[in-house]
């Protein structure tokens, strides 16, 4: 297996561990951890590697943890909205929320934190709601 494939394998396995932990399945995550360790050892023993493995691994682990956290928040927001859309067909507020959520999740990823919505996006949503509620003319 080449170097890129080894790193890819660690990434996939560790993401799976993060997902399982996030879902509260700690025991299942623990079952995969030996495979992660084995893949990490394979990287360390790879003749193609350029060294400095620990720093790269730390960065990879942090990135995957962040991705799973962001995805989890996004899913928490999106799922009820999709359900709501399926239930009553009210597409407008759902669409507004989807746009916002995607932006928020993206912002959160970049900031390395949980979704931090933009105030200007909130104001956009408010103006959109007002146009519907009060019939104000669009700009």
């Amino acid at each position: 297996m080449d170097d890129a494939s080894l790193w890819s394998e660690v990434r996939v396995l560790y993401r799976r561990v993060c997902l399982l932990r996030n879902l509260g399945h700690g025991a299942e995550a623990a079952q995969i951890e030996p495979a992660v360790s084995k893949a990490v050892d394979a990287i360390r023993g790879s003749p193609e590697g350029s060294g400095n493995y620990d720093a790269k691994l730390r960065a990879l682990f942090a990135l995957e943890e962040d991705r799973v956290a962001s995805a989890s928040v996004l899913a928490e927001i999106l799922l009820p909205m999709l359900r709501e859309m399926a239930d009553d067909g009210t597409r407008r507020p759902v669409c507004a929320r989807l746009v916002h959520s995607a932006r928020a999740a993206d912002t959160g990823r970049r900031r390395g934190s949980v979704a931090a919505p933009s105030i200007a996006d909130f104001i956009d949503q408010m103006i959109q709601q007002e146009r519907i509620s009060f019939g104000a003319a669009p700009p």
Binding site: I77, L79, S113, A115, D124, Q125
Partner: protein
């Protein structure tokens, strides 16, 4: 000035959708006078107290920070020169209250909305003068409105602001409170729970108690409930009961409010609760434990159904975290025991590990802080221009 219909007095700015973080170019004022710098204002127009924060564009500095009683005093006829400093004919806020003997006090708002348009206009002129002493800056104000305020109430604010603020945005108060309460410096911390992502705000003011679900997107009308019972209604109940219990007590509504602000509580009766008052020039000590408790507990009875209604409207996947983030702000948050009582009632009713907490000592300012944050973040095309 003739005021036209709403659609003609308000229009969104036609400027491109860029953030207003930089100082925008000066624009002509309403009377054709060139405006100087731009001042951003966050304003909580409250029934009893208003809070003004103002600062320049392009920075986070707050240049003006004031809590002002929402009252105007029109000086009575026949007051001799020199009694009122500067021989002014109209006084505002603390000044008006301090000269209560010589002025006719008028409250511009009642139950959270404008009750006297002329007084509201004068009050906003005063606010403008505090925010911009030069008088020639462009003023862009984000003003808090009660949750679910109707178009009439909103239009009244716009009319009152005509010729005073150059651009305006009206945003529901409890949402602004959430923005104001949010600690921006901690957003990047993994253990910080952003109140804007998932919380329930209870903003108890003078005229209304506003409850709002804040769950990562702008609250819809279904996410907000405004209860027309708050500090003023408690004062009224206390005053009525005092009049029955102690006839001819001579206590003013203002004094009753002071008593509530000092001794107000909810929950089981706290007796004895002795309060010293001056009646007919003589000091008396009245036992007011029951009077105060009964009046304040009505607030709980009124807001609790609204609280549970909003909790039940919250998405089932997020409600557990939401229950950990119920935050009380506004003057009503100062009623002793209000957080523990609401938490206990939720627990007793079977809600999962609820946690109700008080916003803290800045409770008078959170709406205005949120409003100023919104003013700083608003894009050019989001501001509404008021046209006369």
């Amino acid at each position: 000035m003739t005021i036209m219909s709403t659609s003609t007095i308000e229009r969104p700015s036609a400027a491109p959708a860029t953030p207003s973080t930089a100082n925008p170019p000066a624009m002509p004022g309403r009377a054709g006078v060139a405006r100087g710098k731009t001042v951003l204002v966050g304003f909580d127009l409250g029934t009893n107290k208003s809070c003004l924060l103002a600062g320049p564009t392009g920075s986070t500095d707050i240049v003006v920070s004031k809590v002002i009683p929402s009252v105007i005093g029109y000086v009575k006829d026949g007051i001799v020169d020199g009694i009122i400093a500067g021989n002014r004919s109209v006084l505002f806020g603390e000044d008006a209250l301090a000269n209560g003997l010589h002025v006719r006090l008028v409250a511009p708002l009642a139950e959270g909305v404008i009750a006297d348009r002329a007084a509201a206009h004068e009050f906003l002129q005063h606010i403008r003068s505090l925010a911009d002493s030069s008088g020639n800056s462009e003023i862009r104000a984000v003003v808090g409105v009660p949750a679910n305020a109707g178009e009439v109430a909103r239009d009244d604010i716009r009319r009152a602001a005509l010729g005073i603020f150059d651009r305006i945005l009206l945003i529901p108060e409890p949402f602004l409170a959430a923005l104001g309460y949010r600690d921006d410096s901690r957003l990047a911390q993994p253990n910080y729970i952003d109140p804007v992502v998932n919380s329930l705000f209870i903003d108890i003011g003078g005229g209304t108690s506003d409850l709002c679900l804040v769950q990562g997107c702008f609250p819809t009308r279904d996410d907000q409930i405004s209860v027309a019972f708050a500090g003023d209604a408690i004062d009224e109940l206390m005053h009525s009961e005092l009049d029955r219990t102690y006839p001819n007590n001579g206590l003013s509504r203002l004094r009753v409010r002071e008593i509530k602000e000092t001794h107000g509580y909810v929950g089981p009766s706290r007796k004895p609760l002795d309060v010293r008052v001056i009646i007919g020039g003589k000091a008396h000590t009245l036992e007011l434990g029951d009077v105060i408790g009964r009046a304040c507990n009505v607030l709980i009875d009124r807001i609790y159904p609204a609280l549970t209604t909003l909790i039940e409207r919250a998405d089932s996947n997020s409600v557990v975290i939401l229950l950990q983030n119920i935050i009380i702000t506004g003057g009503g948050s100062q009623l002793k025991g209000i957080d523990t009582l609401l938490q206990k009632r939720l627990t007793d009713d079977g809600y999962e590990a609820p946690r109700v907490r008080l916003a803290g000592q800045d409770y008078k300012r959170y709406v205005a802080i949120g409003a100023l944050k919104a003013a700083r973040a608003a894009r050019e095309n989001q501001w509404q221009v008021l046209l006369g």
